[in-house]
Symmetry: none
Subunit: 244 residues, 2 copies
């Protein structure tokens, strides 16, 4: 099941942290590292901190957007140190991994996304995720090193996947899971639809799309539901007229 | 109970690892660091990797033997990456921390001992310990960075001692919950809207509303989201024309 899991580091500043994350991954049995716009990579310091995990760095994928990085994944977990203005389903690493087991058994691809050292993940990046993960820590000193955060999540994955956790299916799907890419195309057509309806004003978007992303990501849409939602959007496009 | 816990690093070679361990400790709420014959300390690299945990380094005790370091402790846990020729009570970090809870409640002082980067703890050092802790990892690549090992143990301590994430943090609502009655009224207006759009044919309803109920109930809609959904439905109602 480790093969189905990606670790995605976004805008990492220090190459040493990339190496540390690679080592943490390999120690726990993870392989797939994706780097979104790393500041410096490849880099001698990354290689040094990776120690014997140079193969993880060599096979790491470097891409220029988080959207590309997650496009083939079915479930996206964003790590967040801060409480956000828009609330999202939040769990600690143990709960999060427990809830992912049925998805992994269902052959879904899962991404864990870690933000930049200074600023973490942006609200926009977090809005691409189905769930947010918060690592419990000292409130007076909560800035966890990014390689340390990868270590904790990878450790929880190993603890869970290597124990014979009962295969209790926590949820039952009616149809297939969809990918982040399909979800993204839905949000774009939803946004266009709301603009056409005059409900979303591009000059004053407020947090409307963010709230709708939160709602639909929380529901974890599957294939037959996506077909319904697309059908409704198409009907709206056909039947509505500009306001007089 | 964090006050009763010491982290002891023995013969650490790389000062960066001492800094990384200090940061990991402070993140999780631990304070007491003891260094047994560190190769280089204090050191700029330790300070750099500690980030905001310089106070842990400043108050760290430097001693010349493990015996001195553990002298006032009641229970000593040694970390070990290897299986030893002499069997010792062995546990993973979670089991280990669980078993320590009664001792901590009993006001006992506990030490966690971490060995040198290359060789770990010697058999003699391990023989000073009451229990051995093994962090589960990939057997083909089991050399865990010492700061990463401290991070995992400190994280398990926090998860156990802090009864981790408070329930109200697990799911954070932005606004008020809504009642089943409001939800029911939403489904009725959604159904009327879909009929008006021509997407739902009352003569052939199939399972459309059932599927939409399943989707929106799963998301557990709250008040401000309900306002958005109502707004969208009203916009559709205003703008829809009959098909020619």
């Amino acid at each position: 099941m480790f093969e189905q899991i990606k670790v995605i580091l976004v805008n990492t500043s220090h190459p040493g942290n990339i190496g540390g994350a690679a080592r943490a991954m390999k120690n726990m049995g993870l392989h797939h590292l994706v780097l979104v716009n790393p500041k410096e990579f490849p880099h001698a310091e990354a290689t040094a901190r990776a120690a014997g995990a140079g193969d993880i760095l060599e096979s790491a994928l470097v891409v220029d957007s988080l959207t590309t990085a997650i496009s083939d994944c079915h479930f996206i977990v964003g790590t967040s140190a801060r409480l956000r203005s828009v609330a999202w389903p939040l769990s600690d690493p143990r709960q999060c991994v427990d809830r992912l087991i049925p998805r992994l058994k269902d052959q879904q691809r899962i991404a864990f996304v870690f933000g930049n050292e200074q600023s973490g993940l942006s609200n926009e990046e977090l809005s691409l995720c189905h769930a947010h993960l918060h690592i419990p820590c000292n409130e007076d000193f909560s800035s966890l090193n990014v390689a340390a955060a990868v270590q904790i999540v990878a450790y929880e994955l190993r603890m869970s996947l290597h124990q014979n956790t009962p295969a209790e299916l926590l949820y039952e799907m009616e149809s297939k899971p969809i990918t982040a890419d399909e979800m993204e195309r839905f949000f774009i057509s939803l946004e266009n639809c709301l603009i056409q309806l005059g409900y979303l004003k591009p000059s004053q978007p407020k947090k409307l799309m963010l709230r709708l992303r939160r709602l639909f990501n929380r529901a974890i849409i599957e294939e037959n539901e996506m077909n319904i939602l697309r059908g409704i959007i198409n009907s709206i496009a056909e039947r509505t007229v500009e306001k007089q």
